[in-house]
């Protein structure tokens, strides 16, 4: 136990890492890579729109399909294929005309005799070519059933087993997700803010505990400065989250309505706000205790704030890590298992996500090191 405390103390107390520069260069490189790289990589192909949204049986319709980041025109794309999918049945389109690199005109019709054999009336649309792989739009168009089946009609949709060369797109790209679209890049900016905040808060907790054990005032300074930087990252995380959610989850709602949901309803957002306030109280507490009128000794002030820091970490852990897993939340991986599953992050996202996390955490400790060095100079002057 003694050796553990001594080792932890050396880690927090060791000021050499505050002054070394190599890891700051490393941090700058990582962040440059993340910022530039993440905006260079395109989204993977996807179907953004199909019209008409509904169709009746016994008529051949011409569907106008708009896609995103596809290469129908290029020579390597090969033959473009298009299916209307219900359940596990793939109905081949009657004809496919390539209008542009991201535009198709597809002819398709369903017979009224077969409308009752379909598992559902909503059709997913699936597209494939050799460069872009297979991509789809769920519930792209809906069949309006007719009451009376026309037996004279000879229009029948034929189901087939799809034959494709590539299922995956043949270039480096982030996954195309409905609602998210290009904002999927915020994974590298919004999420690591909270990781950086968590790391700094943990560091501060460690320093506070070490202060209570050892009574060295430098640990008190470390804890205080780490909380200031943690709050900076917390505020960054919260404001970026507000903007991101406004244009994804709360699209169509007014700002006031969206903020109302963020503050009062959504478990994780509410928790994040409460934990930020909890650490703001830490700073306010320190400030109040340092007032001359309070007439409190320096040692007492440090002990009270260290004790409050331990109390605040419980609030932080409870609202950031426990509550969102107990309740349903809009955040991915909540109301169940945490994120990092294969559905939340694919390999291209990981390529940038892990460097982003390390980079932003390091940036946090970099700013922290500057603050601590300033405090050390200030204390030397006093």
């Amino acid at each position: 136990m003694q050796t553990l405390i001594r080792a932890l103390g050396r880690m927090v107390h060791g000021t050499t890492w505050l002054y070394t520069t190599w890891w700051k260069w490393f941090c700058a490189t990582l962040l440059l890579y993340v910022v530039i790289g993440s905006f260079m990589v395109p989204l993977s192909p996807g179907i953004s729109k199909i019209e008409p949204l509904s169709f009746s049986p016994d008529t051949i319709y011409t569907f106008k399909v708009s896609t995103y980041h596809t290469h129908f025109n290029s020579a390597a794309a090969g033959k473009t294929q298009f299916w209307f999918k219900v359940g596990n049945d793939y109905f081949k389109a009657k004809s496919i005309e390539v209008i542009g690199a991201d535009k198709l005109e597809v002819k398709f019709g369903v017979g009224s005799l077969q409308q009752d054999s379909l598992k559902s009336t909503s059709f997913d649309v699936v597209c494939n070519d050799d460069i872009d792989g297979t991509f789809a739009l769920r519930e792209g168009t809906t069949l309006l059933k007719t009451a009376k089946a026309d037996s004279t009609s000879n229009i029948v949709a034929i189901s087939e087993t799809p034959q494709v060369t590539h299922n995956k797109h043949q270039f480096l790209a982030f996954p195309y997700r409905e609602i998210l679209y290009e904002t999927i890049r915020n994974t590298f900016f919004h999420v690591p803010m909270w990781f950086a905040m968590t790391m700094l808060v943990m560091f501060s907790l460690l320093a506070s505990i070490l202060f209570l054990i050892k009574g060295d005032f430098r640990f008190d300074t470390y804890a205080h400065q780490a909380i200031i930087v943690a709050l900076l990252f917390g505020v960054c995380g919260y404001t970026t989250g507000m903007v991101w959610s406004k244009y994804t989850w709360f699209i169509g709602l007014s700002w006031w309505k969206a903020i109302e949901i963020m503050v009062f309803q959504e478990t994780k957002l509410r928790g994040a706000l409460i934990s930020i306030i909890a650490y703001l109280i830490y700073l306010v507490l320190r400030w109040i205790l340092s007032l001359k009128a309070m007439n409190i000794q320096k040692r007492d002030r440090a002990i009270i704030s260290a004790a409050y820091n331990i109390f605040a970490i419980i609030i932080f852990m409870w609202y950031i890590f426990i509550m969102p897993r107990l309740h349903d939340s809009l955040h991915p991986g909540n109301g169940g298992n945490p994120a990092f599953s294969k559905y939340d992050l694919d390999s291209t996202l990981r390529m940038f996500f892990y460097p982003a996390c390390i980079g932003w955490i390091m940036l946090g400790f970099w700013i922290y090191s500057i603050l601590v060095r300033m405090q050390l100079i200030k204390q030397k002057q006093e």
Binding site: S48, T183, N186, C236, V243, Y247, I367, M374
Partner: protein, 71 residues
């Protein structure tokens, strides 16, 4: 401090202007256009603005320290 605060507030004012017509993905809304790429840009901008604002505030405090050391 008030200067930074106003800068921060004015950052959000722009989003209120865009908050008028937003119903579908393909609306004329600037933030939603181009498959919402400007939301990602806005998020990165907010982070950079906040961090740089903080760094400038540190810079100011550091200047005070330095001036005290000289005298």
């Amino acid at each position: 401090m008030a200067k930074y605060f106003l800068t921060f507030i004015s950052l959000f004012l722009s989003t209120f202007i865009f908050a008028q017509a937003e119903t579908a993905e393909n609306s004329n809304n600037f933030m939603v256009s181009n498959h919402k790429v400007f939301v990602a840009v806005a998020v990165l901008t907010i982070i950079l603005v906040l961090i740089f604002t903080f760094l400038f505030s540190i810079e100011r405090r550091l200047k005070q320290l330095e001036s005290r050391q000289k005298s």
